[in-house]
Subunit: 577 residues, 2 copies
């Protein structure tokens, strides 16, 4: 009994100590972010556009990493000494997060394996290491939702065809090109005797998928300040938001590709088909879930008058969007992807139902969450360069990766732009294409995907190389955007009043079909805009239509002379855009 | 090797399953909150003030608890069957949160002990049970910060003396009275043979501390709508915000009281002194930390011009406030209490340095966080009545607790009001006193304190009883506020233009001293208001004063004719209020 009490007291004390240390680590990160914010302010105050806040956050993270690795000297025994009587239990794991998964500060499986060849401050470095799943379950969702929610709807939907081509076809091309180049590179390394472990073709394709996820943050921040051409902005933003989704689903499908004889790693048709099934299933499932959540929120905000109570409205909006993520995770679909589609749907339908106050509140809330999550990820990236203890830096692989990255991006942008220009009246100029090529920065998503699994030699090398690619692109490309844009002479121009009509007339038929459907059925159903459902739905559905048209709709719409049942696309576009 | 891979795969699958279940539980709670929001809207829409959203949240939680306990039938074997080969490892614990501590869904120590006499759906009920520390580290901090940040400064500081008396002296009196009454009640139970375990006098005092934490939410929401007298509002709000802090520190000091011979539980002078030391140390430490964080944020926002960038300003504000909590936890002081003082300081100094945009953003952000956290706690409370599997309901103890609660509150309010009225020119009328007596609802803090430790018989009985007290006070007192207020004839009155001067002249000397110090030194140092530091500081400090006076201060203050170095208190108050 007394012994049990003693053990309880000791384990209680240990839990307390772990909590104390966890809080101290969290204080470290909040101070890091605070410093980043103050420096960002200083840069903005002095109108210095050389370095974006993400670049700054990385630098500070890097500095802290250096200090922790080389500057602090702690006797490893000191920390655990008073508790050493129970120290042969599991290693002190510090767990965090909200949605239920185990998030250990300690990287799983590495503690006991590698204690021999650890860095000098292994204990401290382990304490500042998060479980990689924290990125997917806590930090990426608000970032991705924010990207979807802040897509400039008008320009996004006008360029939908091109955006989808770049994001879907382009990302697959890019992944494949990078995969092939890296396979050649790995073969070269193997011939040179540089390869220290297995590296299969699927690994190369996986690396291709990781590195194809571009991050628009830095470049778009500068675009915003410079007020760059809205169509270019929409293309770039739309592409990089959607290609994150494609990259994440693609990489998980490649992981799902397990040849029947797992030792051979030869091509297996059945496994390939299974992979393709996973890709399409997860993508369409996430799409269905995200849009369904958006539709439900839109309907609720339309049919109730929550707009009189902005706090309730904002809370509902937040909860519904968050539950999309949770629901997708509970169904074993990718929550991050579902959240993107949810964000786009919320922006397209729900946003117009919200009160002016809630519109502002929701935007600001997600802007804040996005800013904090992003700053945290980038500063953590900087820290990781020194705190991660199993880096594999190989000059040949790194050079190959940089080359592959450029080739992959080029194989995405230039051929697709050429093909798209055949159908577009508002052509994507070659200057635009160069900027899109240049603006292909790699950021939070590439990092999160690469840190997710660092158990094998191949994955460790990929992780280290991805880290370098992110640093390079954010600092060099991010810093170089302003000069490049002024060199390319791309500025804000008032061309869209002309383009909207010309584009509307010769847009591809699926896009036109979507526009008609959206304008005649979805918008009247989910928002207070568009022609009343009673006019657009067939006569047999009129009881349903009457039920779904709110009294507000009647009032608003009876004062307008809306086009009759089948509107012309050009008229719709003229009204919408 | 192959076996290791198999075990890895199985444990991976188990982690995935746990994550999936965790997400499903989170979906359940978001849907609960969404339903609460929609019903709240319906009530507000129909102007029904019978039930506050907290009361509603409890009802929904209760319903879900009933369904989970009696409505769902799951074969316990089904869940774990595919993984049963490793099921003799630790029980499936689902962990959550941000700041580092282990938050297990399973209540520690109860899983293996009590599997024999569990409720029908023990497995499911365990899954919806959170580690109680989640309340202290995730949910209470935003609620308490919000309380501090939204204290109406003007009326709060005008009634500071009374508020401090009620919160400090009153809470201690109330805890002691409740403790003594409960000790009598326990003696009676023991005589009747109703007592099923140990129940010491310290347990009674602990119960007194828990039950003395009043929650202003429901009553104040109604006060706000009815625009009740501002002084009464300030007294009630200030008291219930500060008495939370006192209750939390008091209860932890009682826990720290460990007589040297732990088996005897007789009075021990040394332990008593140690307890007192813990009480004063934690309280003053939290106060120092919270105000220091507020001062630093105020200085930073004053000296930089972050106000041009509301996003950065809001982020900084959020991070600094959060780091107060983390820092306090890292120093083993109570973070929740530190956060309260931080909130008050931020409201008093930093708030006036913020841009109009950030003022709005920070208020809205914490309003949202507070709303979500509070709705969650109250719905969880409802759920717990059925999901908690070790309730001890004893009619004698429950009746005694209700009686003790009223006596404790009465012993706090009436004698103190009598004493305070001797010194106040703006007397607290007997109607006011009755309302304060009536408005002593018990809410989130009482619940969180009682659920923190439910390992012994005494604590389980306290927890069950606290739950009933919360339900009763929220539903009956909360619902009855409107009729009581109209019966007591307490409405918004414009009396404070008269009271401010009369009160300023005969306020107690410590309050007057504080006012002078705050106005002459702190305000000029930390904000852009008040007389310039150069005038108020002694001549020897003028270099320092010049350094701390921003150019903006010079500009602003040179255009005003400020009173010379030593202002009269009455003048200061006339300027401030």
């Amino acid at each position: 009994m007394c012994r049990k009490w003693l053990v309880d007291a000791v384990s209680e004390r240990r839990a307390e100590e772990t909590h104390r240390q966890g809080s101290a680590v969290a204080v470290l990160f909040t101070l890091l972010l605070t410093t980043t914010i103050l420096t960002t302010w200083l840069f903005k105050h002095r109108r210095c556009r050389l370095l974006h806040e993400t670049g700054l956050a990385m630098i500070y993270g890097l500095l802290v990493g250096v200090v922790l690795r080389f500057g602090v000297h702690v006797q490893p025994d000191v920390i655990d000494a008073p508790l050493s009587c129970v120290s042969n239990s599991s290693p002190p794991a510090l767990l965090l997060n909200i949605s239920g998964r185990l998030y250990e500060y300690t990287l799983r499986g590495e503690v006991s394996d590698t204690q021999g060849q650890d860095a000098p401050n292994a204990e401290i470095l382990r304490k500042v290491t998060f479980d990689p799943e924290v990125f997917f379950n806590v930090l990426l969702p608000p970032i991705i939702f924010h990207a979807g929610y802040s897509l400039k709807r008008r320009h996004f939907f006008r360029n939908l065809g091109s955006i989808l081509s770049y994001a879907f076809v382009g990302t697959v091309i890019s992944s494949f090109v990078i995969g092939v180049v890296m396979y050649g590179c790995v073969a070269l390394m193997s011939a040179l005797g540089h390869l220290g472990g297995d590296f299969f073709f699927t690994d190369c394709l996986f690396f291709g998928a990781i590195i194809s996820a571009t991050d628009p943050v830095t470049v778009l921040a500068i675009f915003n300040e410079l007020r760059v051409d809205v169509d270019l902005y929409a293309l770039l933003f739309g592409e990089s938001a959607l290609n994150d989704a494609v990259a994440i689903v693609l990489s998980s499908s490649i992981v799902a590709y397990q040849p029947v004889s797992s030792s051979s790693h030869s091509f297996d048709g059945g496994a390939m088909l299974w992979s393709l099934g996973v890709f399409l299933g997860v993508l369409s499932g996430s799409f269905a879930l995200g849009t369904a959540a958006g539709f439900i929120t839109a309907l609720v905000t339309k049919l109730t008058r929550l707009r009189d109570f902005p706090l309730l409205e904002t809370s509902l909006f937040f909860l519904m969007s968050w539950s999309t993520f949770l629901f997708a995770e509970a169904c074993s679909i990718t929550g991050v992807v579902a959240v993107l589609f949810c964000g786009i749907t919320q922006a397209h339908y729900t946003h117009s139902n919200l009160s002016a106050e809630s519109k502002k509140r929701t935007r600001e809330l997600f802007e804040l969450l996005n800013f904090l999550a992003e700053s945290f990820i980038f500063s953590y990236m900087g820290l990781t360069l020194f705190s991660f203890q199993h880096h594999v830096f190989n000059p040949v692989f790194i050079s190959g990766a940089f080359l592959a990255m450029f080739l992959g991006r080029a194989a995405n942008i230039y051929p697709l732009s050429f093909l798209l220009n055949l159908g577009r009246s508002n052509r994507i100029s070659s200057n635009f294409q160069h900027v899109m090529m240049f603006a292909g920065l790699r950021g939070a998503m590439a990092f999160a995907l690469s840190i997710r699994d660092t158990s094998t030699y191949a994955r460790q090398m990929m992780f280290s190389t991805t880290l370098l690619i992110v640093f390079f692109t954010v600092w060099v490309f991010g810093g170089g955007t302003t000069p490049v844009l002024s060199y390319m002479n791309i500025r804000y121009t008032h061309i869209y009043t002309i383009t909207q009509i010309s584009y509307s007339q010769d847009s591809a038929w699926p896009i036109r079909l979507w526009y008609t459907f959206d304008h005649n059925y979805l918008k009247p159903l989910l928002t207070h805009s568009g022609p009343p459902l009673i006019k657009t739905l067939p006569a047999c559905c009129s009881p349903l239509a009457r039920c779904l048209t709110s009294s507000q709709d009647y009032q608003v719409k009876n004062t307008h002379l809306y086009p009759a049942r089948r509107c012309l696309v050009s008229e719709i576009l003229a009204l919408e855009l």
